[in-house]
Symmetry: C2
Subunit: 322 residues, 2 copies
């Protein structure tokens, strides 16, 4: 956002009606310039009315998750220090990957109103129309790739807590990387990483969160939005701020080496311990009772073959009637 536009927005936010003349004088620009900026703000979704002899009034801020709205008053030390908003990109992970390769510092977020070529894990299609939250966070943790799953774990924990704090509903974490509300997917996390054998170079945490976006008919049986869950419109700006704050706190925990705290919090939020599950992998399917999760993010399963640590696969809960 341009500097003058930002200033006009601040004037409107802190005043009731302000005349174009007053704004023009304050900023030393022409009244036409003021009018052009107002026009652009309106295009960004800010509801601004103009009354003769009274001036401009900001009725409502935009619903778009614009960087200046998310960053307004946000006090985080790493996450969201730099945010870039796009109205449409192929994939926020891809945009951020290019920045990462050029040395962008950690904490940077790319957020888009729409993704045209988004994907989930294993290159699966990810629906990302308007009114959801589609964003990617860049991290450069000082850990080896063996521990990368800890980062996905703090992402899941942060999202769960942020959603809970914002709308009062607590999703359940589904291993390895989804959040569910009443059994339906509300959020997916796609973690990508570039590393040497004992040091991660960068990680991209791609997050797709169904907020106010419509869920297509074909996905209704397995996906849900926060709007559907709460029966009301959810402020994406407030939710994004809550996510940045929670993520910032948990990333601090990771940096301090509180791996056990992360592991146990994840386990409690997943409600998976003691459940009977089936994990489908490329060639085999493993069935067993979940005993816990290890620090590599591997599910500890008790199966017919004894205790196994499962690092990858698609999980399904089995009704435990025995």
């Amino acid at each position: 956002m341009q500097n003058n536009q930002q200033k006009i927005l601040e004037v409107l936010k802190t005043n009731a009606y302000v005349s174009g003349e007053t704004i023009a004088e304050q900023l030393s620009i022409s009244r036409t310039a003021v009018w052009k900026h107002i026009k652009q703000l309106q295009q960004q979704g800010y509801e601004i009315t103009a009354k003769p002899r009274k001036g401009y009034l900001l009725n409502q801020i935009t619903d778009l998750p614009l960087e200046q709205e998310i960053q307004g008053g946000l006090k985080t030390s790493i996450i969201g220090k730099h945010i870039q908003y796009f109205s449409k990109v192929p994939s926020t992970n891809d945009v951020l990957k290019n920045l990462a390769k050029q040395g962008e510092s950690e904490g940077t977020i790319i957020i888009a109103e729409e993704q045209t070529n988004a994907r989930g894990r294993k290159n699966r299609y990810w629906n990302s129309p308007k009114e959801g939250l589609w964003f990617s966070i860049l991290l450069r943790p000082h850990i080896p790739p063996q521990k990368a799953m800890l980062v996905t774990m703090i992402a899941s924990i942060s999202l769960t807590q942020a959603i809970h704090r914002t709308i009062g509903i607590k999703p359940i974490i589904k291993w390895p990387n989804d959040l569910l509300i009443q059994g339906k997917k509300v959020c997916g996390i796609l973690t990508e990483l570039s590393a040497e054998i004992d040091q991660i170079e960068y990680m991209l945490i791609g997050i797709g969160l169904n907020v106010n976006n419509a869920i297509p008919e074909s996905l209704q049986s397995k996906s849900v939005s926060l709007k559907q869950s709460t029966h009301r419109h959810v402020s994406r700006v407030m939710l994004m701020q809550a996510i940045c704050i929670a993520f910032d706190e948990w990333y601090e925990q990771l940096k301090k080496g509180c791996e056990e705290h992360i592991r146990s919090t994840w386990l409690s939020l997943s409600q998976i311990q003691g459940k009977t599950v089936e994990i489908k992998r490329e060639l085999t399917t493993i069935k067993g009772i979940v005993k816990g999760i290890d620090l590599q993010g591997g599910l500890i399963l008790e199966s017919d073959q004894g205790i196994q640590h499962v690092l990858t696969g698609d999980i399904q809960y089995i009704n435990n009637t025995s």
Copy 2:
């Protein structure tokens, strides 16, 4: 290499003196064209003499690790199915990374006579003048990043066995990624990977092996070449073939899931079990006795604080006089 040049080389390899006229007739090209190809082969290091009325004689094949020499008679199923030789590149890993992103299949090797901007682990300088073996192998194993160290382990094992088979000296593996002969570094491995949280997209195994190259005075105290160790010139082509064969076998083991076999072989070739070591990390140094290595490549250390699994750091052996 051009098709006709390859054909001329084959004719020279399977015959004593052959006249330019005979070659020209066989290939349906002019005698001048034959002469030009011979000239280029000589520039590639093939020792070809020409005698009046007798013709051309191949005295010795090139010492350069050219693709056609390495691939001649090589029967591997994945490793080295495609090899590209360069006389000079900044870094073979970087060349291969670009190919990997474009979908190059696994097993491809980039090899260079000289690297101008090579690096070791943690961006450390890696000396790579002429007459060494500087190459990178592309792999796409179906494993999660937590298990990436298994690939570095099979690289170390394959190199140790190939060197042993070729020159009769068996290097020792130094955790996590070097080979030593009489305590000096003869080979370094730089593993880079790109992954999703539960699936590696590609891995680059960058290998720097001191063969016949000169070791600068400043590195003499800690580095050694195979030529210094054996007091004779070592055929890089034969060595590369042995490496491809060994790596191909061990990669097959990895694909079959023989992780325990890889782990125990690595452990025996490292001779590290029972040794007292000090591992320097960013902020701390850990001292302890090595009890083994886990499947994530973490050293299992018995220290004052009990048993620890150490995934990263610089290791130093301590004289165990107790």
